[in-house]
C-alpha cells in the first residue's frame, strides 16, 4: 500500500458513493432520516478535494487528512464514525510512502476499534460494524493463508475483505437495530438492509477495486 494506492482507494470510494448515493438514501429512508447518501457523497467529495489540494508524503498522512476532512465536513453520525476510523488508520500506520499489507491490516483494525469506541456498537446491532468487522477478519485470514508479500497479497486480502463486507451487509437485513436512528423503530427496523453497513461495503469494494487495478 503506497500513497498512490491510498489516494486511488479514496477516489474510487468517492466515485462509488456518488454513483450509489441515491440507493444509500433510499435505504436510509426506510429506517432512518433519508440523508446517508447525501452526507456520504458530500463527505467523500470533500475528501477528494482535500487530497487534490495537498501532497501528503506518507500513506498514513493520506488517511489522517481524509479522516479529519470527514469529521469537519459531514456531521451526523457517519462523519465522526468514518472520520475517526480513517484517522485511526492513518495514525496506526508506520511513517513512509509505503507500508506492507500486514501493517495496513493492523491499521484497518485500529480504525474499527476507534469507530467502535466512538459509536459503542457491538456486532449484530445493525450498523457499520456488521460489515467492517467481518471485512478485517477476512483480510487478516487471507493474509495468513496467502502471505502478504507483494501486491498479490494485498489484492487477495482486500478482495476477501470486500466479499466479507458484502456478506455482513446482507446479513443486517433480518437484524433489529440497537444503535443509531434506526433503533427508534424497534422491530420495524427488521427486514431492511442497514445503510451504514452498505456504505462500508462500498468502501471495502472500492479498496479491492483499487488494489486490483494495474
Amino acid at each position: 500500500m503506497d500513497v498512490a494506492l491510498a489516494k486511488a482507494w479514496l477516489d474510487t470510494a468517492a466515485d462509488a458513493i456518488a454513483a450509489q448515493a441515491d440507493q444509500l438514501t433510499t435505504l436510509d429512508a426506510a429506517i432512518g432520516d433519508s440523508d446517508h447518501g447525501v452526507n456520504m457523497n458530500r463527505g467523500f467529495g470533500a475528501v477528494r478535494t482535500a487530497l487534490a489540494g495537498a501532497a501528503p508524503d506518507g500513506v498514513g498522512a493520506v488517511f489522517t487528512l481524509a479522516g479529519s476532512t470527514l469529521v469537519s465536513k459531514v456531521g451526523g453520525a457517519s462523519g465522526p464514525l468514518y472520520g475517526s476510523a480513517l484517522r485511526a488508520l492513518g495514525k496506526a500506520l508506520p511513517d513512509g510512502p509505503e507500508v506492507d499489507a500486514a501493517a495496513f491490516g493492523a491499521g484497518l483494525r485500529a480504525g474499527l476499534e476507534a469507530l467502535r469506541k466512538l459509536g459503542g456498537a457491538a456486532p449484530g446491532d445493525k450498523t457499520i460494524v456488521d460489515a467492517y468487522l467481518p471485512a478485517v477478519d477476512a483480510y487478516d485470514a487471507a493474509l495468513r493463508q496467502h502471505g502478504g508479500d507483494g501486491d498479490g497479497g494485498l489484492a487477495a486480502a482486500t478482495r476477501a475483505a470486500a466479499a466479507a463486507a458484502a456478506e455482513g451487509m446482507r446479513a443486517t437485513v433480518p437484524l433489529q437495530a440497537r444503535k443509531g436512528r434506526a433503533s427508534y423503530l424497534g422491530e420495524r427496523s427488521i427486514g431492511h438492509q442497514d445503510p451504514g453497513a452498505t456504505s462500508t461495503w462500498l468502501i471495502f469494494q472500492a479498496l479491492a477495486d483499487a488494489a486490483a487495478a494495474p
Binding site: 433519508s34 456531521g75 444503535k179
Partner: protein, 332 residues
C-alpha cells in the same frame, strides 16, 4: 417535491442569509455557519450553545437572544453540526465563564458535540453538557440509542437561558437544564411524512386514513402505524403515554407545549390543546403555562407533539423571565 428553494444544496445557507436580513440583532456568520447574539461574549455570563440539524425551525437559531441561547449551530437538514462549528460558537460566546452545550440525544449530535467539547477544552473553555431525551415513545434501553430529544429542548433552552441571563454559573445552568429535561416528557403523532430538500421525496408513505404513532422530528417512521382516530383519542393516547413515563400528580403545576411539526394548522393545534387541557383539568393538574404553535418542527410534516413539564415555582419564575429572540419574546 415542491418547495420555495433555489437549489437543494443551498437551502441552509440561503435561509441563514434571510435570518440575518430579518434579524439584524443577531450575528450570522455564514462562513462558520453559526448564529450568535450580537452582544456576545458578555462578561460574567455563561455561554449557552445549542445546535442540531436544520429543518426544525425555529429551533435552534430562532431561540438565540436575550434570556435564551447565546449561539446556535445549524447543521445540514436533519444532520448534526460538525465540531468546527460548535467550537467556533464556543469561541464567539465564551467570556471566561464557560459554556453549556444543550444537545438533543441523537447519535450524531452527541458525537459531534462531544468532539467539540474536547476541542473547546483544549482551548481552555470549560464545557458542561445538558442531554435532552424527553421523547417517551422510545424506550430507554440497551435496545435503542436512548430516548430522543424533541419538544422539551425549547423548554430547556428557555429556562436554562433565563438562569444564565441572571448570572448563574455554568454548573448551575447545566444542572437546571438537566432538571427541566428530567421533569419533561413528549410524544408525537404524524399525519404525513416530510420531504428533505436533498432527498426530494417523502421518507415514507402513509395512507389517507393512517397515522404514524411515536414519530421523531427527522421524518423517520414512528414506533407503529395505526388508523387515524378523532383528536380526542389522540390527545388521550399521547397524554397517557407522557404521564405514564413522567407522572404529574393532582395539585401540581405543569408547563404544556402543544407543538406543530411544520404543516399542521394552528386551528388543529388549538383543538388538540383544548382536549389536553380538559384531560389535565380532570386529573387535577394545573396548566400553569402553555405554548401552542410551531416551535420544534420537522420540515413539512403534518403532525403534533405534546410536551408536559412538571413545574415548580423556580421553573415558572424562570419561564416568565424576559426573553427576546426571533421566535419567543415576552417581558421585554
Amino acid at each position: 417535491m415542491k418547495k420555495f428553494i433555489n437549489h437543494p444544496d443551498a437551502v441552509v445557507r440561503e435561509a441563514l442569509v434571510g435570518l440575518a436580513a430579518a434579524h439584524p440583532e443577531l450575528r450570522v456568520d455564514l462562513e462558520q455557519q453559526i448564529v450568535v447574539r450580537a452582544d456576545a461574549p458578555r462578561a460574567g455570563k455563561v455561554g449557552l450553545i445549542s445546535g442540531g440539524g436544520s429543518g426544525h425551525e425555529p429551533l435552534h437559531a430562532g431561540f438565540v437572544g436575550l434570556g435564551m441561547l447565546d449561539a446556535a449551530c445549524p447543521g445540514e437538514v436533519f444532520t448534526s453540526p460538525v465540531p468546527d462549528q460548535i467550537l467556533a460558537a464556543a469561541k464567539a460566546v465564551d467570556a471566561g465563564s464557560g459554556v453549556v452545550h444543550i444537545v438533543k440525544n441523537y447519535t450524531g449530535d452527541v458525537m459531534n458535540f462531544q468532539m467539540a467539547a474536547e476541542l473547546s477544552g483544549d482551548e481552555g473553555i470549560e464545557v458542561f453538557t445538558v442531554l435532552v431525551d424527553d421523547d417517551v415513545a422510545v424506550e430507554d434501553s440497551t435496545w435503542t440509542a436512548g430516548r430522543r430529544g424533541t419538544g422539551a429542548t425549547m423548554l430547556v433552552e428557555k429556562i436554562a437561558g433565563a438562569l444564565a441571563e441572571e448570572g448563574g454559573d455554568a454548573a448551575a445552568v447545566a444542572a437546571l437544564g438537566t432538571r427541566v429535561n428530567e421533569a419533561s416528557a413528549s410524544f408525537a403523532i404524524a399525519l404525513t411524512p416530510c420531504t428533505t430538500p436533498a432527498a426530494g421525496r417523502p421518507g415514507f408513505e402513509l395512507g389517507e386514513d393512517e397515522m404514524e404513532v411515536g414519530v421523531g422530528i427527522h421524518g423517520e417512521p414512528g414506533r407503529r402505524r395505526e388508523k387515524l382516530r378523532p383528536a380526542r383519542d389522540i390527545a388521550t393516547m399521547t397524554l397517557e403515554a407522557i404521564l405514564a413515563a413522567k407522572p404529574v400528580a393532582a395539585g401540581e403545576d405543569a408547563i404544556v407545549l402543544m407543538n406543530g411539526l411544520g404543516a399542521t394548522p394552528l386551528i388543529e393545534l388549538y383543538l388538540l390543546y383544548g382536549e389536553v387541557a380538559g384531560l389535565l383539568e380532570s386529573a387535577g393538574v394545573r396548566i400553569a403555562r402553555n405554548l401552542v404553535g410551531n416551535y420544534v418542527t420537522s420540515l413539512d410534516m403534518a403532525g403534533m407533539s405534546l410536551t408536559v413539564c412538571r413545574a415548580d415555582p423556580e421553573l415558572l419564575r424562570l419561564w416568565d423571565a424576559p426573553v427576546r429572540t426571533p421566535a419567543l419574546r415576552w417581558g421585554v
